[in-house]
Symmetry: C2
Subunit: 164 residues, 2 copies
């Protein structure tokens, strides 16, 4: 992957080259529109601008974007990430809050994992059983109808698949 920075190849190194949005997009793998969107959502602050209004990002933005991506992967919403970042920028450490969020998230994850294990077990068991008995007449599908999954619909659609 590592898109070697062609544009700013010269004698950069520790020069913190100001990058335009397209380059940042390429380097980060985040679409241009998404970058502007993040800015609107308060995730990126307002970058410097050229006279003509082009955004100029410094090198840090890439770290910031990595931060955002990681936080997303960890299950933070953009709003939460924005909150964390803005706390930081209000001068105070957001860490206490982050810690709280993280602890809550840990519990959620645990619960989620537990649920998924149940789903997985029940789904597998149902598939198994159902493969043995074959089709039942008059049922849409024994597989689903016969499952003992009742579990009071935990939170409705916890599984939520990613786009496929």
């Amino acid at each position: 992957m590592k898109a070697t920075s062609k544009t700013t190849d010269t004698k950069d190194a520790a020069r913190k080259p100001a990058r335009k949005i397209g380059e940042v997009s390429r380097l980060s793998g985040i679409g241009i529109e998404a970058l502007r969107f993040y800015e609107k959502q308060g995730l990126l602050g307002r970058p410097a601008r050229t006279e003509s209004g082009y955004r100029l990002y410094d090198a840090e933005v890439l770290e910031r974007l990595e931060f955002i991506k990681r936080a997303q992967v960890l299950g933070f919403s953009l709003a939460e990430i924005a909150r964390i970042i803005s706390h930081k920028h209000a001068g105070q450490s957001p860490c206490a809050e982050v810690r709280d969020i993280v602890r809550a998230r840990l519990q959620e994850i645990d619960e989620r994992i537990r649920q998924m294990h149940r789903y997985r077990k029940e789904l597998a068991a149902a598939l198994d059983e159902w493969e043995q008995i074959g089709d039942l007449e008059g049922h849409v599908c024994g597989l689903i109808e016969s499952t003992t999954i009742k579990q009071a619909l935990p939170e409705k659609r916890v599984l939520k698949r990613g786009r496929r």
Copy 2:
């Protein structure tokens, strides 16, 4: 809340009483609008109607709705559920297809669980470590920045929390 069914109280029992949408909604816990929405999505077929156009559901609809709920919990999208149901109604057993879907879903779930375990472990480790070293100057938050979570962003937002 519990609006005791006044309408069909008489001497029902095993009479398979035709139910109007409101009652079905109450009995199933699914909103009226959602029921009509499901119908539009092909999940419920077209129910009988009174002369004046009111939907009249038979008792089966409740099973059907349970089926739908369960399938949703198992991670099926409404579109998939609709497909399953319509295959059934096209005369053929949808089971082969369901089985395939289920098998694929099982693998997805496994992968998802694996991911979540990684997340969980890394998140916990980071929290731990970070609680020991405290705040780092110049960082938004060590917690997230210092995590070793790189894992190539599996599928983007797999965690997706339920509505909170």
